[in-house]
């Protein structure tokens, strides 16, 4: 075929495609605007109707749902999903029945959970976290382990359903092989699961922390910083070994975690906090200043350390610790960097006092 013929045909072909794209764009725009306008009109009516039916003993959801047009159906679904996490008791049960009437039955969710479509599965899991379908939860536990985001969402389902399997299976699902760091959603889920009962997490951390990727280990240590009860100091001894870890991020996270349990003298004695004030990593020193300030009343060691502190942020933390602990007199003959930091922290301190 000659070049000219090729170009002419390409032009005609492309012209047709462009026309098609333009027409499709306008048609989609008009249809979407109509739909949006319809939803805007029906939403207040639907919300009011939903609220009124929630007050009734028998809301007759099935009859109502059958009468809904597609935009109304979407509005009800959106409203239901938004309200479910916010309400409790009898109203929540009624709302769950509405979701059932909308077609989100255990059978449908089970089918979606068994699908290999990531977003279909995640959507089903996000519904399941709001509903109480034990049989579907069992399906999730059996099938939803093939991807980390799916495992995370499954662990969340266990937590949201108050399923007793959350504290072991949930933790296992989240940490899996200790290779992939968690998302913030995963981190939050791990935290919610273990906040009151961290024993299982502590026991597997004790056993497996050496096998985990550093990023996972840091995340577990971060979560443990927020656990407030049920932790026996003996279950934290493995964290002491992390203080000698080659990664400064791990050392810093370990020290931050131990700081939260510093009420235990035995644990506190096991941490060589003075040595950590001279750790080669500024990240570790930043935490060390803070911990030293919390654990000791004699702050001379911090005063000496901040004088030679080369890292700006670590010096700032150190000076803040001194101020918080009432040491407000600037050390004599301080280097310029320390003078500067000191004046800044003084100003911060004054502003806080004025605010109070």
């Amino acid at each position: 075929m000659e070049a000219i013929t090729l170009v002419v045909w390409a032009t005609i072909g492309l012209g047709s495609v462009v026309l098609l794209v333009g027409t499709a764009t306008l048609v989609v725009s008009v249809r979407k605007q109509r739909k949006a306008h319809h939803v805007e009109v029906v939403k207040p009516v639907i919300t009011a109707e939903l609220a009124s039916r929630l007050d009734e003993d028998d809301p007759s959801w099935n009859d109502w749902v059958e009468e809904l047009s597609p935009p109304e159906w979407s509005a009800v679904r959106e409203t239901g999903k938004r309200l479910l996490p916010q309400i409790h008791g009898g109203e929540r049960t009624k709302l769950q029945q509405l979701v059932y009437a909308l077609g989100f039955t255990p059978e449908r969710l089970r089918n979606d959970l068994e699908s290999d479509n990531l977003y279909l599965t995640l959507r089903a899991l996000s519904w399941l976290a709001l509903l109480e379908y034990p049989s579907a939860v069992d399906t999730a536990l059996r099938t939803c382990t093939w991807n980390q985001s799916v495992r995370t969402a499954t662990a969340r389902v266990l937590f949201e359903n108050d399923d007793p399997r959350a504290k072991r299976t949930g933790v296992d699902l989240l940490l899996w092989e200790g290779r992939e760091p968690l998302s913030i959603f995963g981190l939050d889920t791990l935290y919610r699961i273990v906040i009151r009962k961290p024993e299982y997490l502590l026991s597997i951390a004790n056993e497996k922390h050496g096998e985990w990727e550093d990023a996972v280990l840091i995340q577990v240590l971060t979560v443990l910083q927020h656990c407030q009860s049920g932790v026996s100091p003996s279950s934290l001894t493995w964290i002491l070994f992390c203080l000698d870890h080659e990664s400064p991020e791990v050392r810093a996270a370990a020290l931050s975690t131990l700081a939260e349990y510093g009420w235990n003298q035995q644990l506190r004695d096991a941490v060589e906090i003075e040595d950590l004030l001279t750790d080669p990593s500024p990240k570790v020193r930043r935490i060390a200043y803070d911990v030293y300030g919390r654990w000791n009343t004699n702050l001379e060691r911090v005063v000496t350390a901040v004088q030679d502190e080369p890292d700006d942020l670590a010096r700032l933390v150190g000076v803040r610790v001194l101020h918080t602990q009432g040491r407000q007199k600037r050390p004599a003959n301080s280097p310029e960097a320390l003078e500067r930091t000191w004046r800044w922290v003084e100003a911060e301190h004054t502003a806080v006092l004025e605010d109070a």
Binding site: P85, L122, A215
Partner: protein
């Protein structure tokens, strides 16, 4: 061989080169746009599910500093800062850096937010021009203002980047308004992959003709000013197709200086923004790619199409010409600075696809096009190029340009729908046709000028006259 034969040979050869270049460049664009469509479909699918947790109640969300460099932004500064202070995010601060403005930017901030000077210098030496004062707002503790000597945008950004103690910082332009949930949206990749994400960017949209009250975009309208309309079309194409596609191909080289979220520690590690560049945003991103590749570190640098920042674009040709020439000079400057990476397999996709694309297509593309506008018609007039071939090729070029533009409009309509009214959509499609007549040719002249300025070492920024948002213009 006569001079005429030589000229004819040259014209024919160049015409063939233009056609070949056209095929290669447009194939690259098509790949990027079609990849963007696939990615957009995935993103829309992903949007249909939300993780069931209360982000605001979680103690793990990273803190963010919004860093706002401001130079002579008096007409817009109060409205913009107000919009930054009203964002929905649990842990953030706003650091405005007054970069030695000669207007009353600082005074307006002091009055509007009850600023008081902190009676101390910053706790560390900031790598920027002399800091005159640091102010804190007594009415909103989230707000800090650094007043410093003029040193340029990069220098101003560095002041904020090195002052903050937040894990992430978001660089935004002072003449912009952020949608309330935009910070949470642009942070999503950091929440999904906290260990790997190093930077994300959101969509910049055109605020001209929109109605903005107290830092909130109340009504979105498409400007009837053709120059603004053409830019709106360009922004749609660049963000909803170009960046989504490039991000999905791991080739995102630009995170707009108007709206980008970065890992503070990493940016400091690579040395912060460079003051000796004209397009500091692109240079930083390329330098981050370079550093992370050299460290053999796994990382994610993503474009997120949902969060939106609204910004004023130039309404006259002089300001637009100045802006585009600067962008083009900056592109070549950054490519020259990091030429070692171009075509170098040690830098992975960045070296083998992204930078060659930016050099060959984004950089030299308009220049070749500009030459084509002169030489191909000449060849046609001299009878070297066949009439039908010339006409068909011209039509094909225009249709292809329309196709890419209209695909972006379709993406907009099918996904985020900020332009809801069908008449605005029709107008956008119209701009997609009209930009090919005169505007596109004018732009090639401008970009040629930018290229020549780059060769001559021009490094001025130029200024843009701010109109101010609705509520600051007065009745």
């Amino acid at each position: 061989m006569t001079a005429i034969d030589l000229l004819a040979g040259f014209l024919f050869g160049f015409s063939v080169f233009v056609v070949a270049y056209f095929v290669v460049a447009n194939t690259a664009y098509l790949v990027i746009h079609l990849t963007a469509l696939v990615e957009l479909r995935r993103l829309i699918n992903k949007r249909t599910f939300e993780s069931t947790y209360q982000r605001f109640g979680s103690p793990f969300l990273p803190g963010i500093a919004i860093v706002v460099p401001a130079y002579n932004e008096a007409p817009v500064i109060v409205s913009s800062v107000q919009s930054f202070l009203d964002l929905q995010y649990p842990d953030y601060e706003v650091i405005v850096v007054n970069d030695g403005s000669s207007d009353d930017t600082l005074d307006r901030l002091v009055d509007a937010f009850d600023l008081e000077a902190v009676p101390a210098s910053p706790p560390r030496e900031l790598p920027c021009e002399t800091v005159r004062d640091v102010y804190r707002s007594t009415e909103n503790r989230k707000l800090t203002v650094i007043d410093k000597e003029n040193g340029g945008k990069a220098d101003a950004l560095n002041a904020g980047v090195y002052l903050t103690e937040k894990q992430l910082f978001c660089a935004v332009d002072a003449d912009s308004v952020i949608e309330r949930d935009a910070l949470l949206s642009v942070a999503k990749p950091f929440l999904e992959y906290p260990e790997r994400t190093v930077a994300t960017g959101g969509v910049v949209r055109v605020a001209n003709s929109c109605s903005i009250t107290e830092g909130i975009v109340e009504e979105i309208r498409l400007s009837r000013n053709p120059l603004v309309g053409f830019q709106t079309m360009e922004y749609l194409r660049a963000f909803l197709s170009g960046r989504i596609g490039l991000s999905s191909l791991k080739s995102l080289m630009i995170i707009s200086g108007a709206f980008g979220l970065f890992d503070t520690r990493l940016v400091r590690e690579v040395g912060g923004y460079r003051s000796d560049t004209i397009t500091e945003d692109m240079e930083l991103v390329v330098r981050m790619h370079r550093y992370l590749n050299e460290c053999d570190q796994e990382y994610r640098l993503e474009f997120v199409p949902e969060p939106v920042i609204w910004t004023e674009v130039p309404e006259d040709r002089t300001a637009l010409s100045r802006q585009r020439r600067r962008w083009h000079r900056g592109l070549f400057q950054t490519l020259t600075m990091h030429r070692k990476m171009i075509g170098n397999p040690n830098y992975g996709v960045t070296g083998m696809f992204a930078l060659p694309f930016f050099m060959g297509v984004e950089g030299f593309g308009p220049l070749v096009e500009g030459l084509g506008y002169v030489i191909v018609p000449l060849a046609f007039v001299l009878g070297i190029v066949d009439t039908w071939f010339f006409i068909s090729f011209l039509l094909l070029a225009i249709l292809l340009s329309m196709f890419l533009s209209w695909l972006s409009v379709l993406s907009e309509v099918a996904s985020y729908r900020r332009y809801e009214r069908p008449q605005d959509v029709a107008l956008l499609l119209g701009y997609g046709i009209l930009e090919n007549i005169l505007y596109r040719q004018w732009k090639t002249i401008i970009l040629w000028r930018g290229f020549v300025e780059f060769l001559r070492g021009v490094d001025s920024w130029g200024a843009m006259e701010r109109k101010g948002f609705d509520d600051e213009n007065g009745p």
